[in-house]
């Protein structure tokens, strides 16, 4: 039911108002997307909030290549229905971990359970419940988009409908084209279609939007968001902090083979506790020493003349600062309050050794 509702609305990546050819499709992607998905979610009864059921459970996972220890005893829990983002610099053990979870590599030590099975020993029926978008995978040479999807549909015991799945990722118009002739973004959508054709419960997305332009990336996020609302569990790796922040329910950061932080996008690495900063510029007539002493003693100055004030109580400090300025009839240029971005936190976490 979910599928037909999705498909009749032509769930597509393209933001193209001209595509409104029949009157049944709302002109804007956002509206169309929300409507079709709400219908799909309502009719499927899916999209329940993440439950405590662990889809992936990793305890003390270690992987050695000779004397090199790529993954050093990590623990992970991913629950049903959540989007879990796994971040880390290249060479930190991210790909190794993902490949162990997908059953391509064997753990040296530790217990790994994905959908209740050890991936290394899991039977084919386990793979049927999994969808994988690999970091790099070429197109099937010589086959058209539809033939590619049909080939993969044949691999699964109960696949989704081929044409519906192609429409779902917005490739209906390219259905008859050779997969090798597609653009980069279109080929990535084909990868997603191939991962979805088996109607999986758990989907691995390994850097799904690398190389996308900003609008294609946003469109891809809509698709991933939609998968969540259909109750799919998603294990996402990415290098884009914006992507993790926008999509993930939880984030884990791996560096040098260890999980160095785990949390929600809002509280990762104690981000919510980090001091905020008030930054501003003083008019040329005033110096930093003219400020109230409680502020002046904490003040840091940038080489370009800007001033920064680390603040644990923003409201009070801001009141003091703006009161001081108003009394003297001054205007503070570039006044803003900032908190560390996810990227700041990430860079700090991954640079610590």
């Amino acid at each position: 039911m979910a599928r037909s509702a999705l498909c009749t609305h032509g769930w597509t990546f393209e933001v193209d108002p001209r595509a409104d050819d029949s009157g049944t499709r709302p002109p804007y992607l956002g509206a169309m997307f929300t409507n079709s998905l709400d219908a799909a979610v309502a009719s499927a009864g899916a999209g329940a909030p993440p439950t405590a059921e662990a889809v992936i459970r990793v305890r003390g996972l270690q992987k050695r290549y000779g004397s090199h220890e790529a993954v050093r005893r990590i623990d992970l829990d991913i629950h049903r229905g959540e989007i879990f983002a796994f971040l880390g610099p290249n060479g930190a053990g991210k790909t190794t971990t993902v490949e162990i979870l997908e059953g391509f590599r064997q753990a040296t030590v530790g217990s790994v359970e994905v959908l209740g099975q050890d991936p290394w020993k899991a039977p084919g029926s386990w793979r049927a419940r999994l969808g994988i978008v690999l970091q790099e995978s070429g197109a099937e040479p010589g086959l058209t988009v539809r033939e590619c999807v049909a080939l993969y549909a044949g691999y699964y015991p109960a696949p989704r409908n081929i044409d519906e799945t192609i429409a779902l990722v917005g490739l209906a118009a390219q259905s008859g084209e050779r997969a090798t002739s597609l653009s980069g973004g279109q080929r990535r959508r084909l990868d997603v279609a191939l991962a979805l054709i088996g109607d999986p419960e758990l989907i691995f997305l390994d850097e799904p939007t690398t190389g996308f332009d900003p609008s294609a990336r946003r469109a891809a996020w809509e698709v991933i968001d939609g998968l969540r609302r259909l109750g799919k569990t998603i294990f996402l790796t990415t290098h884009y902090m914006e992507e993790a922040e926008r999509l993930a329910d939880r984030i884990a950061v791996i560096a040098d083979g260890r999980i160095v932080a785990e949390g929600t996008p809002q509280n990762l690495g104690g981000r919510q506790l980090e001091a905020a900063q008030i930054s501003f510029r003083l008019p040329a007539a005033k110096a930093a020493g003219d400020l109230p002493p409680t502020l002046a003693e904490r003040l840091q100055s940038d080489p370009d003349g800007g001033l920064r004030l680390p603040s644990a109580s923003v409201t009070a400090d801001l009141h003091l600062l703006s009161g001081w300025a108003l009394e003297r009839g001054l205007e503070l240029d570039d006044l803003e309050v900032t908190r560390p971005t996810l990227e700041d936190v990430y860079l700090q976490l991954t640079s610590e050794e």
Partner: protein
Amino acid sequence: MYFLIKRLLRMWRERQSQKDAAAPPTAPPAAAAPSNSSPPAAPRVDGPSASSRGPLALLLHEALYDIKISARNPRARFFGFFFPIVLLVVFIGVFGNSHTTFDGARVSLKVFYVPGILTMSIVTNAYASLVILVSGLREQGVLKRRRATPVPAVVLIGGQALATVVTTALAGAILLLIAKLAYGVGMAGPAIVAVACTALVGTVAFACIGYAVSGMIGSQEAAQPVVQMTMLPLWFISGVFIPISNLSRGLKDLADVFPVQHLANSLHLASVQSSFGASISATDVLVLAIWAAGAAALAGWRFSWLPAGAAA
């Protein structure tokens, strides 16, 4: 010949595309907007998947798509189908009136080149094309993605092997047909059965060697030179281009170690003998089978689904 086939194919394709264009009459004429992103009116019903119809159906499913993939590869089509035909025409054109000795009998070079080039066609299709295809699929992550599905590994390999046997058989049959029609070089019925048996064993053997070699190649770029280096010298010393009666003892002994000579020898026998028993060489088939078994073991040990460049 080539152009005739090409012409026919193009005509057929045009007819197909006209049919496709006429097929969806539901497209509303009002949709005059140049946007081509409108989805098809109604999705086709798929029916039960190959996987749900059992392992044999799944094997045929895989083989069918692998045949499509190799049939649409221009390189495989040229070297596997057209190049051997071109060589046959050239060799017979140049040397067709000369003679050589084979198995103690005086043989026209016309007769000699048919099994010779047939050997070349089998080795090219079963070994060269397979090595290049498999290393390409592996390095681009296609094998890894296929392996990430519930398909058993044995079906993926078996389907591709079956596809290789079908393409190789088709190329060989076309070659023999041309030899018969254009040069009147034919074989007795029982001898053709013997050729089919030898060729089947040979195809399987060279496919196994192909899998073993592709497991040892580290990159897609290396596949082509490795294939040429392992294949080309053997053609000259194994009775493919040059009758082995012209070769020195040492070269003959060297060629005896490798499988190409054994495939060629058995196929040559069929071109001068008429009974099934005399047209098949048990020793040669046995050597091919040993190569197949050894290569299969090596392939099982070395074969990888993951791109070699993406380790760690």
